[in-house]
Amino acid sequence: MLHKLMSPLQLALTAITGILIFIQLYMAFFYAPTEKYMGHVQRIMYFHVPSAFVSFAAFGIVFGAGIMYLTTKNKKWDHLALASAEIGVLFTTFVLFSGSLWARPVWNAWWVWDDPRLVTSLILWFIYIAYLLIRASVKGQDRLRKFAAVFGIIGFLDVPLVYFSVKWWRTIHPKVIDEQGAHMPPEMAQTLFFSVIAFLFLFVTMLGYRYVLEGQKEKMYELKQSSRKG
């Protein structure tokens, strides 16, 4: 039954991801030592940082798939871009939430405008919300795909501009928050590294499902079209 729904590769990937996430949870909650000053709240890092990696990888794929779509006009690339964008927005949302939860006790504020990474994440989130809105509201399949691809490319190119402008904006003003010293005990570093790997697997698995779903949707659409003609 199951093999009819999923390819063996997808099944294997899902199983591996499940195991990795399980180990990641164990490492994040039990293996990694409790931080001396921040306490348990520091463990958010093992979810926050990997999510940020995932969201950036996701938007990178939207960018790459957009270019591939415009050059090849193969719908598969467009499906990949859409799948990736949705997951990217999901993880960016999580990055923003988890970051805020961490910042409240540690920086004593839910939000600060002084860190370029924070502001860039927020703008990134808005850009890809716009991307999803384009996907939801533009009429005409081909036009929509091209429009979305171009927006995905321009949006990604805009990210470094946003990052550096926010950085310059704040370095001219007094700097409140410094880079945190990255002196971690090895257990913490291992956990963090492992978390990033596990989350990337999670991302690839989710991307696979969403991508297949989009392909099925397309097939369904084509079937409907052909049945209408016939």
Binding site: I123, K139, V150, F151, L157, W169
Partner: protein
């Protein structure tokens, strides 16, 4: 040569249509002035506090008035599918973009020409520190914003929520432009040591070039359906 001729053709045609009934230009100007007054009233700030607020108070009415212009400029083309006629006509789509960009920007410059003096009228400090820098910032800032505005609002015509989608698309993309404009305006308005002035100008110029060149080439590809 052909390209410039076509650009001028689009520009003069659009302007002729818009100047026949001046309602768009007039409402943009009035809106900017009204919003300016609203901001001044709601902040009701002392001169010292105004130093922090002034760049925003200067720019917000201009940005929002420009925003109004994007969706309405050339809206007559929606009737009877006139826009399809333009797409079929043998002109380069790049010149179509450039023509609309210049026309829109002209409207925004007229808004600036009325809104900026009013701003100084309300502001207690009568003269800017550096009028040259202020003019350069206004010119570059409006060009850059109008460039992405025209590009994306033309594309968004095929959306079912055009009016909402346009600001949602362009505001996040325009964040670097806003930051540069605000910083440069602050330096232009008040005495400052001018720290980082060249870097902001550079950013503004790079942004303008990027968002003028990219649409020029992509317009053709995007509008061919």
């Amino acid at each position: 040569m052909q390209f410039i001729r076509h650009t001028l053709l689009i520009l003069t045609r659009d302007l002729r249509v818009e100047f026949r009934n001046k309602s768009l230009l007039l409402s943009m100007v009035i809106f900017a002035l009204l919003f300016q007054v609203l901001l001044q009233i709601s902040f009701d700030a002392k001169t010292e506090a105004m130093q922090e607020l002034a760049p925003g108070v200067l720019w917000l009415p201009i940005i929002l008035a420009a925003m109004l212009g994007f969706s309405k400029y050339g809206s007559v083309e929606k009737e009877n599918d006139a826009f399809a006629g333009i797409l079929i006509s043998p002109i380069d789509k790049g010149s179509l973009y450039l023509g609309k960009l210049i026309g829109n920007n002209l409207f925004v410059l007229i808004v600036i020409a009325t809104s900026a003096p009013t701003f100084f009228l309300f502001l207690k400090q009568p003269f800017p520190n550096s009028i040259g820098l202020l003019i350069v910032t206004l010119l570059l800032g409006s060009w850059g914003f109008v460039a992405i505005g025209v590009f994306f609002s033309t594309l968004a015509q095929s959306s079912s929520i055009t009016e909402l989608l346009v600001p949602i698309m362009i505001f996040p993309l325009a964040v670097p432009l806003f930051l540069a404009c605000i910083q440069l305006t602050e330096m232009a308005l008040f005495p400052s040591i001018g720290l980082g002035q060249s870097i902001w100008l550079l950013l503004l110029i790079a942004y303008n070039i990027l968002f003028t060149i990219i649409p020029l080439f992509l317009f053709d590809l995007l509008l061919e359906v």
